[in-house]
Amino acid sequence: MVDKKIIEIVDIIDTSQVFTELSDAQSGGICVFIGTVREFTQGEEVVSLEFETYKKMAVKEMDKIASDAMKKWSLNKVIIRHAVGLKEVEAPVVVVGASSAHRDACFEACRYLIDTLKETVPIWKKEMFENKTVWVSAHP
């Protein structure tokens, strides 16, 4: 029995794996979102991002999101993989995706996976600028 959910926190994301991981004979579509490091935030140049996590809890929360998505939509496989550590501009930091018989389910699920991850999973992002660092979303 192949795993239907792939939930991982890793140091480096290899985006070329995801097609094979979500590919499934019962699926007519795969939808994937890849989050990457953007060079500018509010007009300021970002040198790099640093991600930190409470891994035990993050994996639990990611697993809940994947299970909830599988209840809401008819999905064959789901992946949620997040990177931690120092990431340079353009580096992939998160991959979420789903495969399903028809495309509507995986499109909707993919959006739910990334939106919910951003709200609940204990991962923290620090923006490193030339002369300061900022924990994203920490202050109103």
Partner: protein
Amino acid sequence: MEVLLFGIAKDIVGKSQLQFLETDIIPSSVSELKKMISDTYPEFRNLSSLAVAVNSEYASDDVPLNRNDEIAIIPPVSGG
């Protein structure tokens, strides 16, 4: 009792965990813990939100704390 600190919480306190000794009075609930750290480190009051996890699950303010629980301060998350 240990309280794990992450992200900006770690920067505010200046270490990655708070230790309560056997002889220390420990906070009896999530809300008491939040009050205790915000009183000691007022910068916590400036954050957008402050959550607490007990045994790696989000815990509401009324959840009681025990000496052998794994407790973590969860400042506003920003993954993705």
